[in-house]
């Protein structure tokens, strides 16, 4: 098979159904296959589609349809089973099951939309001397097919359903999947496909080895880049649509590859943010790919592709590290002799890095007949699965009600509605893959390696790179002429004096420089400093107050003269500064470094000066946030009812009602939980991509003074200024699900968002942001977050360790919760964990109101009280009597609640008035409800810790000036 055939198969797959199918079905006299796709096929296959490609696409289409909408494989031609989308356009959120009735689309003329579609795809054809370049065209179709900029309906175009009767997945997901299957079939000698899962590591240990936020960013970004270098092998060989998870369409790093390495027309990308944005806000600075992927590959090539991916990522790492070492030697004035020990050290230390684990399961395990009909028994698949999924006759998916229904043909009124083909068994193949991949990780092979002497400052298990092994025995203070002593002189901003690094630490430390050089070359972006330091982030609270208070007019000329070293500021602060004077901008950017650079005797003086300028003591605390989607394993495996939809819920209401009336015998089928499908995996991945690439950054960097370190998959790691902590936490949680309360005014006030004109609009599992409609995880999906508030001088390693523990605490509190850990400089710590919603309330119910009664909002209101007229003494005084109160076991829950409410209200009223008293009652009610529902929550501790956190966040200058008082 030549590669040309593979790309032609993709083009045939992309033209088997028109993108506008839903809008022209039953309206176009030529039929949906007689319009734009016929013309395109004539262009690509003037003498007709070759038989092998035709057969692969047909099979791919059938498998894809069966996998994503098994109820309507080949039947459903009766009038009750048809939906005219222009008359009854309904879309269903694939993860939450929410229905969206679009009213009427009859004003969209089928001829017009056909013409638009025809022009759109014609423009995507890439030719060379009049000959269609099938690879470039297929990639252009994949990338830009869903982006119809000429239409008045660009948002609907992205979400057009593949099947109007089951409108929970898009035509784009169907075309992607058909293309992936077709390419696998046509390029495998047995016409078989396999699912391939690969993962790269280590993750946590690698990222945690950090001495600065720059190291932290570099570790995260490098891992995401390594994942892309692996994915690139798959994308180049069999196309990016082969990758089910993560979805690659629209990922900036992938776009860069399409433009610069594949050679897609550059003008297509001209308006992309990664091209136009010339600052560190460029999305290429984001670590946005997870460390794992799943792809559909030709079965016979699965192992070869996995080995090539493994070699590619390791070669990429080694080549980059080697180039960094060569530069280090050159700049340090050391002759680059291959016999230098550092070269051997580098090779040894990077051998086997990164760790790569993979597993592949072929669809050939599925028994089928000559007509591609899947056998009901599936003995081979059952045999293969038993060791992993349970020693029953029908393990895993084979034993579910879904398969019991789908393993047989379904006929209605004598017509075959559905015939099972191997695509229906996607859940069984995926489940087996997941288990084999987990077992394959049981051994993390490593070679013996002894590291002599004193070791790397970042990676304590490795020797630092040296030009003379005798140097390794030199203790700190005696290393006068080492490679690193010279390097520190040559690269003063990069290596600290005395720092000695290993190969992996070198890679991490020099990655920001390598990456920015790369961007300079490819995109003419010149960014020198872009990772915000912990000190700058702490100071951001004071700086914003200074800018807001007097417009930064007080700039003190002598201070300006002395503060000359700029630092990276949070993006939101930079935006605020854009309208200010040059002096204000310079002072804001240089103040952090001016304070940092002070030697001992000057330190107090400079702090005093800064306090005078800023009007208050410069803020010293900042926060880290780690948020993680809950139960992602269950979402992906689809094995738990809570995360599944019933078949009924995924059908168009017209079909649902018709079937209810006409075929009551199908009730069991309709109520059966729908198993996991490729489109569902794609929807999850696309939702996480949209959250990570757009919304997480928007929340952290546009709406708050923060820096996103990592956002990929369902994880977010971000630094945030202390005054924005609560706002950021709550916004991230709402953005993850794409939800916002129906009565939004009070929450908007509380979060101080009144003036945010460009803020994303969140609603019912979607977000409208920057002209794009993003489909997010929906209200059924939850997330938990941990936040650590720390002094900027607290060792980063400790903060990260505490952060992971705090995020676990949120998960352990029943999930869909947040936890805050205050690490006080004096050594004390306060830990608070609360659910996002009060006990007994679910998200759909909570969103009907205004959310200001939620625990996070209550905490914010309490903080605002303390920042306002309520004396913070109330928190301390309450602690004094709280422990002496009786328990619920002694007096009963109701009596305890009343007692606490009365006492807290009294305490807060004395210190703050009626508004504070009301918040006190609400806090008592919340704490008692939590204590009554879950033993993990203790009433007195919840009140004590909530007050303590609110009081700490309310200290001088920390409550956000724009946020509503109560």
């Amino acid at each position: 098979m030549n590669t040309q055939t593979l790309w032609l198969a993709k083009l045939a797959a992309w033209t088997h159904d028109p993108a506008e199918k839903a809008l022209v079905l039953m309206r176009d006299p030529a039929g949906h296959e007689g319009g734009t796709v016929r013309a395109l096929r004539k262009t690509f296959f003037p003498t007709g589609v070759p038989a092998n490609i035709k057969e692969s696409v047909k099979q791919g289409d059938h498998w894809a349809s069966a996998a994503d909408r098994p109820q309507f494989g080949g039947g459903g031609r009766e009038s009750w089973a048809q939906v005219r989308f222009d008359q009854q356009p309904v879309l269903i959120h694939p993860l939450s099951g929410e229905e969206f009735d679009l009213g009427k689309l009859a004003d969209i003329d089928p001829a017009h939309i056909k013409a638009l579609s025809g022009i759109h795809f014609d423009e995507l054809i890439v030719s060379d001397n009049g000959i269609v370049d099938s690879k470039k065209t297929a990639l252009n179709f994949w990338r830009f097919g869903p982006e119809l900029d000429q239409s008045t309906l660009p948002l609907l175009w992205q979400l057009l359903p593949a099947d109007t009767r089951v409108p929970d997945h898009t035509i784009w997901a169907h075309l992607d999947l058909t293309s992936a299957f077709a390419a696998a079939f046509v390029s495998d000698e047995n016409s078989d496909a396999a699912l391939l899962s690969m993962s790269f590591g280590p993750v946590q240990d690698f990222i945690a080895q950090s001495r600065s936020t720059s190291d932290l960013w570099a570790g995260s970004h490098l891992l995401a880049r390594i994942a892309w270098e692996g994915l690139k092998v798959i994308a180049e060989d069999i196309g990016p649509d082969a990758v089910i998870f993560p979805q690659l369409r629209g990922v900036p790093q992938v776009d860069l590859w399409l433009r610069d390495e594949i050679g897609l027309p550059a003008e297509r990308f001209a308006n992309a943010e990664w091209v136009t944005q010339k600052t560190d806000a460029n999305p290429l600075f984001m670590a946005a790919l997870p460390n794992k992927f799943v792809a559909i590959v030709p079965a016979g090539r699965a192992a070869e592709l996995a080995e090539r991916v493994t070699a590619a990522v390791r070669d990429w790492v080694k080549a980059n590290a080697q180039a960094m070492l060569d530069e280090l030697l050159e700049k340090s004035g050391v002759a680059n002799d291959p016999a230098l020990p550092c070269h051997e050290q580098l090779a040894q230390q990077l051998a086997g890095f990164p760790e790569v684990h993979w597993a592949a399961v072929p669809f050939a395990l599925i028994e089928r007949d000559a007509n591609d009909k899947a056998a009901p028994e599936q003995a081979a698949l059952a045999d293969a699965s038993r060791a992993y999924l349970g020693n029953s006759e029908k393990p895993g998916f084979l034993g579910t009600p879904a398969w019991q229904l789908l393993s047989k043909e379904i006929t209605i009124d004598g017509a075959t509605l559905f015939t099972p083909n191997p695509g229906v068994l996607y859940p069984a193949i995926y489940d087996l893959l997941d288990r084999v991949a987990a077992a394959a990780k049981a051994v993390r092979p490593f070679a013996a390696l002894a590291s002599e002497g004193f070791r790397c400052n970042l990676a304590s298990d490795a020797e630092w790179l040296t030009t003379d092994r005798a140097h390794l025995a030199l203790p700190k203070g005696q290393r006068k002429d080492t490679l690193w002593a010279r390097a520190a002189e040559q690269f003063p901003g990069l290596f600290k004096k005395g720092e000695h690094l290993s190969a992996i630490a070198l890679l991490k430390r020099m990655w920001p420089r390598t990456f920015t050089n790369e961007l300079h070359r490819t995109l003419d972006i010149d960014v020198q400093r872009y990772v915000v330091s912990t000190h700058t982030l702490a100071l951001a609270t004071s700086l914003e107050r200074w800018i807001d208070a007097d417009g930064g007019r007080n700039t003190e000329a002598d201070l300006l003269q002395n503060a000359q070293t700029p630092t990276a500021l949070p993006r939101r602060l930079m935006k605020k500064l854009s309208g200010k004077s040059a002096a204000t901008r310079q002072l804001a950017r240089c103040l952090p470094a001016w304070l940092d650079d002070a030697v001992d005797e000057e330190r107090d003086h400079r702090r005093h000066r800064a306090a005078g300028l800023l009007g208050d003591k410069p803020e010293a605390y900042y926060a880290f946030i780690l948020m993680d989607g809950d139960r992602m394993g269950a979402w992906l495996s689809g094995t738990e009812a809570d995360y599944q939809l019933a078949y009924r819920d995924t059908w168009h209401p017209k079909i649902r009602h018709s079937v209810d009336k006409k075929f009551p015998a199908l009730d069991a089928y309709l109520d059966a939980r729908r198993p996991v499908s490729p489109a569902r995996h794609m929807a999850i991945s696309a939702a996480l991509n949209d959250f990570a690439l757009h919304l997480a950054r928007h929340v952290v960097e546009d709406l708050c003074k923060g820096k996103l370190i990592y956002a990929g998959g369902d994880d977010v790691l971000a630094m945030i200024s202390i005054d924005d902590l609560m706002r950021c936490l709550l916004l991230l949680r709402l953005a993850y699900s794409g939800v916002w309360p129906e009565q939004s005014e009070a929450l908007t006030d509380l979060l101080g968002l009144q003036g945010e004109r460009d803020m994303a609009r969140l609603r019912r599992g979607h977000a409208l942001y920057d002209g794009r409609l993003l489909r997010l995880m929906g209200a059924k999906a939850t997330a938990s977050a941990g936040a650590v508030v720390a002094h900027h001088q607290t060792p980063l390693a400790r903060v990260l360790r505490e952060l992971r523990a705090t995020e676990k605490q949120a998960k352990a509190s029943g999930r869909d919760a947040f936890a805050i850990n205050l690490l006080k400089r004096s050594g004390g710590a306060v830990q608070l964990a609360l659910p996002w919603l009060p006990p007994g309330m679910d998200w759909p119910g909570a969103l009907q109101s205004d959310l200001t009664g939620s625990p996070a909002a209550l905490l914010m209101r309490l903080r605002n009280c303390f920042a306002g007229n309520t004396s913070r003494r109330a928190a301390y005084l309450t602690q004094g009597w709280l422990e002496d109160l009786p328990t619920a076991e002694q007096i009963g829950h109701d009596a305890l609640r009343d007692l606490l409410a009365a006492n807290l209200a009294h305490q807060l009223q004395r210190q703050g008035g009626d508004d504070a008293a009301a918040i006190g009652r609400q806090l008592a009610t919340l704490a008692c409800a939590l204590g009554q529902g879950d033993k993990k929550y203790r009433v007195a501790e919840t009140i004590r810790d909530t007050l303590a956190v609110a009081e700490f966040l309310a200290r001088e200058g920390r409550a956000h000036p724009q946020e509503n008082r109560t």
């Binding site: 280590p202 240990d205 079965a299 699965a302 996995a306 493994t310 684990h357 993979w358 597993a359 592949a360 399961v361 050939a364 395990l365 081979a380 293969a384 038993r386 060791a387 992993y388 999924l389 349970g390 020693n391 895993g396 087996l432 997941d434 288990r435 084999v436 991949a437 987990a438 077992a439 394959a440 049981a442 051994v443 993390r444 092979p445 490593f446 070679a447 013996a448 390696l449 002894a450 002599e452 070791r455 400052n457 304590s460 298990d461 490795a462 700190k476 001992d600 330190r603 394993g633 269950a634 495996s637 094995t639 001088q793 060792p795 390693a797 400790r798 360790r801 400089r825 050594g827 710590a829």
Partner: protein, 348 residues
């Protein structure tokens, strides 16, 4: 052979291979610590008692791990050894009642993977589940594991029942002024043991310590009392192993092997393994005033499944002598490379 129960009198600072030098650093604790901690402490105490370096030439630590005193009184000599949950056992429910063994399984026809061995250790679960971390086996659990019998909830302990971490704050001193250095605060994790929890150490080749000897353990030289104690691990079912010609090998102390993750010199064929990512051991060599080499080790709790056993007597010798004893006599004497042997577990 002398068996000691080392009961801490205070919190301990047990550091691993992480840096803790510069002011402002965070000292993370390592639990359980390397056996060299006990080897060094016991030898130092013996020397304080008058033993010469030469007389300790044959000293060898043959077991080191966590333990728990059985009696209510400190003087009670009965103890139970505890082991981290072996890598071939998985527990996922909070109730701890769903422990199951991994079963070595050849991949199904057509299924391929990156696994380094012919069989994969597979946990058979009807639904995907996350393992609960930080679990330990008590004596009854160790006995069940050694017999390949089911592990019950009563066999398991949470690490939090055995110790807690307690972060301590310190302030660096200015060497010139002998006063607190400005802004140089550091933190270190201290390990606070639960009542009656300590370490079990067994050694040979050196005299017994006097009863109730005080020894210094870990950073800051915090104290522990060493009491002679009595315990024994049950012997594996050698007949069954000989009959089945297969066995499991569990690392009870870190494994330092010439082949990295794989022990050499085992008279059988390696069929499957469950070995987590490498840890690193290091230390300070008092004699040379230099750091000891940092070496990659297979972590405690790693499990190897062997088949085609060729020589059961050689296997018995390994259990007694430790693995790859000759390759690194210093680390061997410090108690590394010890293991348990057990038959393959019964099917779940």
């Amino acid at each position: 052979m002398t068996t000691l129960f080392l009961e801490p009198l205070d919190v301990l600072f047990l550091r691993g291979n992480q840096h803790f030098g510069a002011a402002g650093a965070h000292g993370a604790a390592l639990m359980p610590p390397w056996p060299s901690l006990a080897a060094g402490a016991i030898r130092s105490r013996l020397m304080a008692e008058g033993a010469s370096l030469d007389s300790l030439a044959d000293f060898r630590l043959t077991h080191f791990g966590l333990g728990r005193r059985l009696g209510a009184n400190a003087a009670d000599s009965g103890i139970e050894a505890l082991l981290p949950l072996p890598a071939d056992v998985m527990v996922s429910r909070e109730t701890l009642d769903d422990a199951r063994y991994a079963v070595p399984t050849a991949p199904p026809m057509g299924v391929t993977s990156s696994h380094a061995l012919p069989q994969l250790p597979v946990f058979c679960l009807d639904k995907p589940a996350k393992p609960i971390g930080g679990l330990w086996l008590n004596a009854a659990g160790i006995k069940a594991w050694l017999a390949g019998a089911p592990i019950a909830a009563s066999h398991l302990l949470h690490a939090s029942q055995l110790w807690q971490l307690d972060t301590r704050l310190g302030i660096a001193l200015d060497a010139q002024k002998r006063s607190a250095a400005d802004g140089k605060i550091y933190t270190a994790e201290a390990v606070a043991f639960a009542k009656a929890v300590g370490f079990v150490a067994r050694y040979q080749g050196a005299p017994a310590l006097p009863e109730n000897s005080l020894i210094r353990l870990g950073g800051d030289g915090r104290g522990a009392v060493a009491r002679p104690s009595v315990f024994d691990f049950p012997q594996p079912d050698w007949d069954r192993i000989a009959r089945e010609r297969r066995f499991r090998l569990l690392l009870t102390t870190p494994g330092l092997f010439a082949d990295g993750w794989k022990p050499a010199g085992i008279p059988a064929t390696l069929a499957a393994a469950s070995v987590n990512r490498a840890d690193t051991i290091s230390g300070w060599d008092m004699l040379t005033g230099q750091p000891k080499p940092a070496q990659r080790i297979a972590p405690v709790g790693s499990v190897y499944w062997y088949g085609k056993l060729a020589d059961i007597e050689a296997l018995k010798a390994l259990l007694h002598n430790g693995l790859e004893a000759a390759a690194n006599p210093t680390r061997h004497a410090e108690g590394f490379n010890h293991c348990h042997i057990a038959p393959w577990a019964e099917e779940n």
